[in-house]
């Protein structure tokens, strides 16, 4: 595909369930980012990968959040024991550059609702 894809697009989870959100970046893009966007707010940085290396995970809200990108392409964001405050849209973005200062291409997001 030409763009960043994410799956599932919508996910409803019962409180306490584990969820896994997938991101397929643009082929060849080195950098991959995860963001959390609450309703009416801007995206909040969660974590960043350069190839398979997770260089920054300072934005992950708790140790229930875990992200990986084992082969430097597809990435998965896992949330364990989901809580209601985890309800949000989770955005993935990829960038061609090793460094910042280049545009990020965003996927459509996964809307997570925890009931």
């Amino acid at each position: 595909g030409a763009g960043v894809s994410q799956s599932p697009r919508y996910k409803v989870a019962k409180r306490g369930q584990d969820v896994a959100l997938r991101c397929d970046p643009i082929s060849g893009h080195v950098s991959l980012f995860w963001y959390q966007q609450a309703l009416g707010q801007g995206p909040e940085f969660l974590t960043y990968f350069q190839n398979e290396a997770q260089l920054d995970k300072s934005g992950l809200p708790s140790d229930r959040f875990f992200a990986e990108r084992p082969e430097g392409s597809v990435s998965t964001l896992k949330i364990q024991r989901t809580q209601q405050e985890d309800s949000a849209v989770y955005l993935c973005a990829s960038s061609l550059a090793l460094r910042g200062g280049y545009e990020q291409y965003f996927g459509p997001g996964t809307r997570l609702t925890v009931t």
């Binding site: 707010q41 460094r99 910042g100 200062g101 291409y105």
Partner: protein, 112 residues
């Protein structure tokens, strides 16, 4: 934490008018980007301006950057209904090339 803050939070204008949105940030930056998000859609990159640039154009978009005031503005000329969206500025932190931080956005509504 948010580095950038857009102003106004919401803006409604008539189709054909110009729309101006502002962004203020706190720490020095390497570059600043503007993104657009339509209702229910993903974020789309509009323009990037580097700290050594003062003005940049792209079609109907004009972005200015004043590093002394730590502020940027986005001007959309001859607005169209399709410009209705939320607009976000995103800044990096000088010395941190790998991370950008978004503001809360300006919600722009173009009236027919």
């Amino acid at each position: 934490s948010q580095q950038g803050e857009e102003d106004p939070q919401a803006l409604s204008i008539q189709e054909g008018e110009n729309a101006t949105m502002n962004c203020s940030y706190k720490t020095s930056i390497n570059n600043l980007q503007w993104y657009r998000q339509n209702s229910g859609r993903g974020l789309v990159h509009l323009i990037l301006i580097r700290s050594n640039e003062r003005e940049k154009h792209s079609g109907r978009l004009r972005v200015t950057l004043d590093t002394s005031k730590k502020s940027s503005s986005l001007l959309i000329t001859a607005s169209r209904a399709a410009d209705t969206a939320s607009y976000f500025c995103a800044t990096d932190a000088s010395g941190r090339d790998d991370k950008i931080i978004f503001g809360k956005g300006t919600r722009l509504h173009i009236l027919p």
